[in-house]
């Protein structure tokens, strides 16, 4: 009993530190310390958990921690900033797997005792949400790293199959809760169905919608931890899991708003697989590196608009270099970032921060749009849908209504593009045919290096 009081006191301290840490993550100046606070909270909670568990054998625990620490450290150190979404997906998945296993294991060490229905129900939830998070994150990882086709996979009968899957889960959950035991056949059925559900939930979602999926899976991993907390009756799991769950839901909501779509639409529509927009016709006006240089040299306000293509071309460092040269030339430079640019929320900000762009120069969509008319040159690098004027003008366009960065209203627009293929969502972009648009064809990194060379 004494030990229980002490561990719970430690949990209170940990919860307070988690809350402080998350609060400090809200500002760039304090964020790093906030993360340190939160990791301290984790250390306290883990030590308290270890003491409170009154473990009799430490071999398995030590091996588990060593293996996990090794994998975690290596992957965190070695990953390139452009691959951050994939890594976060994998970490998410391991969180989900862990919740599933904790829920499952609860059945074994309470063997012989009667498992109350409430505990059984929370075990079911931990297994379901944990399993869903695990396989869902693996599929998201595959799509993000292009190991599997990142397009939305939609087939006939998908909805029927998914509905049957959900019904089967509800039925198995009910039957398991009536007679919960570690050997129940329904338990194994639930394990399999939960893993299958994760796969089915993520395959119909296209690569461009990944910011929503990653946020949502992040939320699920928190909710799974919460459910596991109920299953083992541990306060800190519930508090921390709920905090993560809430934060994931908020980010999901922000991402959906930034695309003007409901969560249901993102999750179930197989976006970009079926809809047809007006084909856009017109003539594009290419520009040479040399001419681009003359225009930039005379500009007094330049705004970069990066998208996923910048990450692919690894162009963030040359972009920053060009920005620096322009600033030295007396030009005002900013970087406008759409909330869903890239493959996870804030992806572009991290890449530009890696290239040493000070965070004051990173501006949000709502800040740049009112003053976009004063921008002499807007340079679009590997972004497409987030600057597509169809979103304002063409009610038939699948992205109609999505808030965009109105680069077409800047005095001049440079679009850096490899060739004339349409963007990720397969939508034509009238921006390319605009009177004030100049296309700079070729690899983004080489094009910008070329312009820098002209300044040299």
């Amino acid at each position: 009993m004494d030990i229980e009081i002490y561990t719970n006191l430690a949990y209170i301290v940990a919860a307070a530190l988690f809350i402080f840490g998350l609060k400090m993550l809200g500002s760039p100046a304090t964020a790093r310390r906030g993360n340190a606070f939160s990791s301290m909270a984790m250390l306290i909670a883990v030590i308290a958990g270890l003491i409170g568990s009154q473990a009799v054998s430490y071999e398995v625990i030590i091996v588990g921690i060593l293996v996990g620490a090794l994998i975690g450290t290596l992957s965190a150190r070695l990953v390139a900033m452009t691959s951050m979404p994939e890594l976060v997906a994998l970490f998410n998945g391991s969180g989900g797997a862990s919740s599933l296993l904790v829920g499952w294991a609860t059945l074994y060490y309470s063997e012989g005792e009667v498992v109350p229905t409430f505990t059984a129900a929370t075990i079911v939830l931990a297994i379901l949400i944990g399993g869903l998070t695990f396989t869902g994150s693996l599929i998201a990882y595959g799509k993000l790293s292009e190991r599997i086709n990142s397009a939305a996979l939609v087939f006939s009968g998908q909805r029927v199959l998914n509905s049957a899957l959900l019904l089967a889960i509800v039925a198995c959950a009910f039957l398991f809760c009536r007679e919960p035991s570690a050997t129940s056949v329904y338990l194994y059925a639930l394990l399999g169905l939960a893993l299958l559900l994760g796969v089915m939930a993520v395959i119909p979602i296209g690569g461009a919608d990944m910011p929503v999926v990653i946020s949502l899976l992040n939320s699920y991993s928190g909710i799974a931890a919460c459910a596991a907390g109920f299953a083992v009756g541990n306060n800190i799991l519930i508090v921390a899991g709920a905090l993560v769950g809430a934060s994931g839901i908020i980010l999901t909501n922000i991402m959906c708003k930034a695309m003007n779509r409901s969560l249901a639409n993102v999750l179930f529509s197989g976006f970009g697989a079926a809809k047809t927009a007006k084909a856009v016709e017109g003539e594009v006006k290419p520009i040479s590196v040399e001419d681009a240089y003359y225009i930039l040299e005379a500009a007094s306000n330049v705004c970069f608009v990066p998208g996923y293509g910048m990450a692919v071309a690894q162009a963030q460092h040359v972009v920053k270099e060009l920005g620096k040269i322009l600033e030295a030339n007396g030009c005002e430079v900013s970087y406008a970032i759409h909330p869903v640019a890239g493959r996870m929320p804030g992806h572009m900000n991290v890449l530009l921060a890696e290239a040493d762009v000070p965070y004051e120069q990173l501006v949000e969509m709502d800040d740049i749009n009112p003053r976009i008319e004063n921008v002499d040159v807007a340079i679009v690098i590997g972004a497409n849908d987030v600057v597509n004027p169809s979103a304002r003008q063409d009610p038939d366009s699948p992205i109609y209504g999505m808030p965009i960065i109105n680069v077409d209203q800047a005095r001049t627009v440079f679009v850096l593009k490899r060739s004339m293929a349409s963007g990720f969502s397969g939508v034509d972009n009238p921006l390319f045919f605009g009177d004030n648009t100049r296309m700079l064809f070729g690899d983004a990194k080489e094009s910008i290096s070329g312009v820098i060379g002209e300044f040299g």
Partner: protein
Amino acid sequence: MDIIFLTFILVLSVFLGFELISKVPATLHTPLMSGANAISGITLAGAFLAAGATDNDMASWLGGAAVAFATINVIGGYLVTDRMLGMFKSKRGQ
């Protein structure tokens, strides 16, 4: 009573989470996400219960795997968040 008590904690934590996160600027969304992700590895604290049991092999195997997965989540999540946040620099800092 236990159930009510735990649910009480849950409800308050959810509200607190919404309040805490809703004001984070877009610049920090990626670190916020990976930082929050690291916190979800808290299941580690619950995994010891199973991993430390000697009387049941299956429980300790499942628990051991849970410990390993959660540790990946925790250690990897915090390290990578710290690495990212170390890159965010202010103009004055340069």
